[in-house]
């Protein structure tokens, strides 16, 4: 009587997209744009969002050709056995690298902003253990979890936004084009890969109720996160001005330290738990995708056994940089630039190959029916 298999609906899917990518507004992602674009940094998510329409469009096209296959099967089919393996392996490396770096940053946020005395490894271990537990439960439960918490997370985020706008100075967003139009284009297009998670959502398409859910979820999710991150960045500028913000690594956390809510002078502990539960959702999904890719790559049927091993490895690798605030920031920036072309062109390449190869097979099948 397993009635939940493949029952992830649009709302759960949108929720996990928003929490996975939207949470980036509350880590060091905004800082990537401030240094090169100044007060115009809020334009970057919009440019990125508009550009991302292309890869998302091709991802959806691919699923139109192969509606009943998983993304792994599609990649293996269009690239062949060996190249397919290589592509999947590369994708897994990108994914696990992102997971290590991002979790390291989040641990650093907690360590520097909230728990100065707690050893880093303890914070890190708790974060990854919870993510591993979520990954073990599977994608259905991760997305359901996202749906349950999203209302709380977004209501508090909206409260923060309103408080920032009320207590900040709107005129700080000028000059509108910050460091110049060319700089904006250059600065934002290098980091298109901050939305690359959308590509990884293709791997769980087979868990969704239908491809319609995938389509709807991707578009609504993309629109939402674009507006959300852009608004958030704009609000940070209003609060700190473009010079001040360049000195700040984690603008969201500095913001909730700066704003006041009535008689509560220090609101950060009020908003911190909601940021945390969103963070857990994000890393559970990241972890899940890593496990999924790893187990399909090396044909491991019992995923439960690789989860503790991966978790331990992630903590150890993530602990290597000694000053994560700076080291990881640089590592992440360079990595994002590296992945950008992959994320931009891989869906297109797969689609072209699928059109050449799979399309004909599909037509034959249809003709046979």
């Amino acid at each position: 009587m397993d009635k939940t298999k493949g029952t992830i609906g649009t709302r759960e899917f949108i929720a996990i997209i928003i929490l996975t990518i939207g949470t980036k507004l509350a880590d060091d992602t905004p800082s990537l744009f401030f240094s090169s674009m100044g007060s115009a940094a809020w334009m970057a998510p919009i440019i990125i969002g508009v550009t991302t329409i292309l890869p998302v469009f091709f991802i959806l096209k691919i699923f139109a050709i192969y509606p009943n296959k998983t993304f792994v099967e599609i990649i293996k089919e269009v690239f062949g056995k060996y190249v397919g393996f290589f592509v999947l392996f590369a994708l897994w490396i990108f994914q696990i690298y992102a997971l290590i770096i991002d979790s390291s940053i989040y641990t650093d946020i907690m360590g520097t902003m909230y728990f100065n005395d707690t050893p880093t490894i303890v914070i890190y271990a708790v974060l990854i253990s919870v993510a591993a537990y979520g990954a073990k439960k599977g994608f259905e439960h991760i997305s359901s979890y996202a749906w349950i918490i999203i209302a709380g997370v977004k209501v508090t985020a909206l409260t923060v936004l309103v408080l920032i706008v009320l207590q900040g100075r709107p005129e700080f967003i000028f000059p509108l084009f910050g460091t110049g139009k060319w700089e904006i284009i250059k600065g934002s297009t290098s980091y298109i890969s901050i939305f690359a998670d959308l590509f990884y959502f293709a791997f769980i398409a087979s868990y969704l109720k239908s491809t319609k859910v995938l389509k709807k979820g991707m578009w609504i999710g993309l629109a939402f996160i674009t507006i959300e991150i852009s608004t958030a960045i704009m609000s940070y500028v209003m609060l700190f001005d473009f010079n001040g913000i360049k000195l700040i690594d984690y603008p969201y956390h500095e913001s909730i330290r700066t704003i006041q809510l009535g008689f509560i002078r220090n609101t950060e502990s009020l908003f911190f738990p909601f940021w945390l539960i969103a963070t857990f959702a994000r890393f559970s999904f990241y972890f899940y995708i890593s496990v999924l890719l790893f187990s399909t790559l090396f044909k491991i049927s019992q995923k439960e056994f690789i989860i503790p091993i991966l978790a331990t490895l992630i903590v150890f690798f993530g602990m290597i940089p000694e000053t994560p605030t700076f080291a990881i920031y640089t590592l992440r920036g360079e990595f994002l630039k590296l992945v950008t072309p992959v994320f931009l062109f891989l869906p297109f390449v797969i689609w072209v190959l699928a059109k050449l190869k799979g399309g004909s097979i599909n037509d034959k099948k249809k003709a046979a029916e």
């Binding site: 009635k3 909230y114 728990f115 991760i142 738990p273 945390l276």
Partner: protein, 495 residues
């Protein structure tokens, strides 16, 4: 016959009775150890008219003597017509013919009367059972202000009658099935034939029939045998003592289990929301109902988080408190020798002790417990500088709130989880609490009871009347819960 007696009792029970009354009675005498067994009675008589010897066997403590005297013995003795069959002589409402010895024994054990007639190789079974028990009383655990007050009692027949009173429809099925081997405990499975999902019904029946236990006295024991996760902290089967609530579930396509000796019914499969709801929620007008729902969810969060939040704030997030309050807290904490987590744990455990002892204490000494609890553990502890006054307030608030979760099982769940949050808050502040919260939520999402996800219809989504945290207008509750896959989704059509 002596060879039949020499058989062992188990194989003898499978034999049929012979037409020889004397030898048959020897078998029954040996089974019931007559005359040592004092309440098993045998009445020998000669049927008038037919001129045949007959024996009547029954257990006097569980039978209705009126029925035996007026409808059985009187008719048999006073008959004068020699052409009548035994069935036609008796004026009882039911009569059943049974041949197998084991089955006859079962009927007698249930309080029925067996009539054995010389020359007849069947026994006539007359329905005459009358067990002693309570009458129908008010619900004690599920108090409601509006709506029906009557509650189930320990007699399944009375309970079924209460349910039939509310559903006057032929599609309400009452199935009976034995659940234990030795004590012959019977389970009543109630469902609406035209609503219940057959797969669900089948899996419930399979689980019940697969039990191999000597005795299951009542539903509280059965519940533990048939639930999905025996060791889980979350209950998955709902207990309710109110027939109106059971009927509401029946009409949504749920399955109800009833048993003798249980002043309650089991509702399955139960989701988290069924533990959260009360029947009162639907009886009150929508605004008031949702008001008490919001109070209940607030109480749930206070119970879970109040003490843990206090520990987290005082240990890790001090800057959050306004300075004046912080100074006030630290002034009261100054003279207390313990860290705040010890303080909280002391009071929490004291509260749990008062609660448990208060429940078990014989009622004449009851008020004493209140005095001891309130005065000594509260006020005196503060005066002795063992705990600070704020801690007493917080623990009392949390303890009080926990009573707003009416269901006994869920109440335990919440009370135990509270300690988990206290420990995690003491270790990692809000970070630990958020981590534990996440893990618990993941765990809850992974629970399935008879194939139904625990938090549905919130997530995963199913078509339903969306009765989760808040309820909708009764006019808008037009769907049965989709996670049960009922045969008829629409509450209006087909009725």
């Amino acid at each position: 016959m002596s060879e039949q007696l020499s058989l062992d009792p188990i194989s003898l029970k499978k034999e049929t009775i012979s037409g020889n009354l004397q030898s048959t009675m020897e078998i029954f005498n040996s089974f019931y150890s007559i005359p040592i067994n004092s309440d098993v009675k045998v009445r020998n008589l000669l049927i008038g008219g037919l001129n045949k010897k007959a024996s009547i066997i029954y257990i006097s403590t569980i039978t209705d003597s009126q029925v035996i005297e007026n409808q059985v013995i009187k008719n048999l003795l006073l008959n004068s017509d020699d052409s009548k069959e035994v069935q036609d002589i008796l004026s009882t409402k039911t009569i059943k013919n049974v041949e197998i010895i084991g089955d006859i024994l079962k009927e007698i054990n249930k309080g029925n009367v067996a009539i054995l007639v010389d020359g007849h190789s069947i026994a006539y079974i007359i329905d005459a059972s009358k067990f002693q028990g309570r009458s129908i009383e008010k619900a004690e655990n599920e108090v409601s202000l509006k709506g029906p007050k009557e509650a189930f009692n320990e007699q399944a027949v009375a309970n079924i009658s209460l349910i039939r009173k509310k559903i006057k429809n032929e599609s309400l099925i009452v199935e009976i099935t034995p659940v234990s081997v030795r004590a012959n405990n019977e389970l009543y499975i109630l469902y609406m034939k035209d609503l219940v999902n057959d797969e669900l019904l089948q899996s419930v029946k399979e689980r019940v029939n697969s039990l191999d236990v000597a005795s299951i006295q009542n539903l509280s024991l059965l519940e533990q045998f048939i639930e999905d996760r025996e060791k889980s902290i979350f209950p998955t089967i709902l207990n309710t003592e109110k027939p109106d609530r059971a009927v509401a579930y029946l009409e949504d396509g749920f399955i109800i289990l009833l048993m003798d000796n249980s002043p309650t019914s089991l509702v399955l499969p139960a989701t988290f929301w069924s533990f959260f709801h009360l029947s009162e929620d639907n009886y009150l007008r929508i605004l008031f109902a949702n008001f008490i729902r919001s109070l209940r969810i607030l109480a749930l969060f206070i119970t879970l988080f109040a003490s843990a939040t206090y520990i987290s704030i005082t240990n890790y997030h001090v800057e959050m408190i306004p300075t004046d309050l912080l100074l006030a807290i630290s002034a009261t904490r100054e003279i207390v020798p313990f860290p705040s987590v010890i303080e909280i744990l002391l009071m929490e455990i004291a509260f749990e002790l008062i609660r448990e002892a208060g429940l078990r204490v014989p009622s004449p000494i009851g008020p004493t417990i209140g005095i001891v609890g309130a005065l000594i553990l509260g006020q005196a502890a503060v005066q002795a500088n063992i705990v600070s006054p704020l801690v007493v307030i917080i623990v009392a608030l949390g303890g009080l709130s926990s009573f707003a979760i009416g269901d006994i099982n869920m109440n335990f769940t919440i009370r135990l989880l509270r300690f988990l949050f206290i420990i995690s808050g003491a270790l990692f502040g809000f970070y630990g609490m958020a981590a534990v919260f996440t893990v618990i939520l993941f765990y809850m999402l992974s629970i399935k009871t008879f194939g139904v996800p625990y938090l549905s219809p919130m997530t995963p989504k199913y078509v339903s009347s969306k009765d989760t945290v808040f309820r909708k207008l009764l006019q808008n509750q037009i769907f049965r819960p989709g996670y049960l896959k009922p045969k008829d989704m629409d509450k209006k059509a087909g009725e």
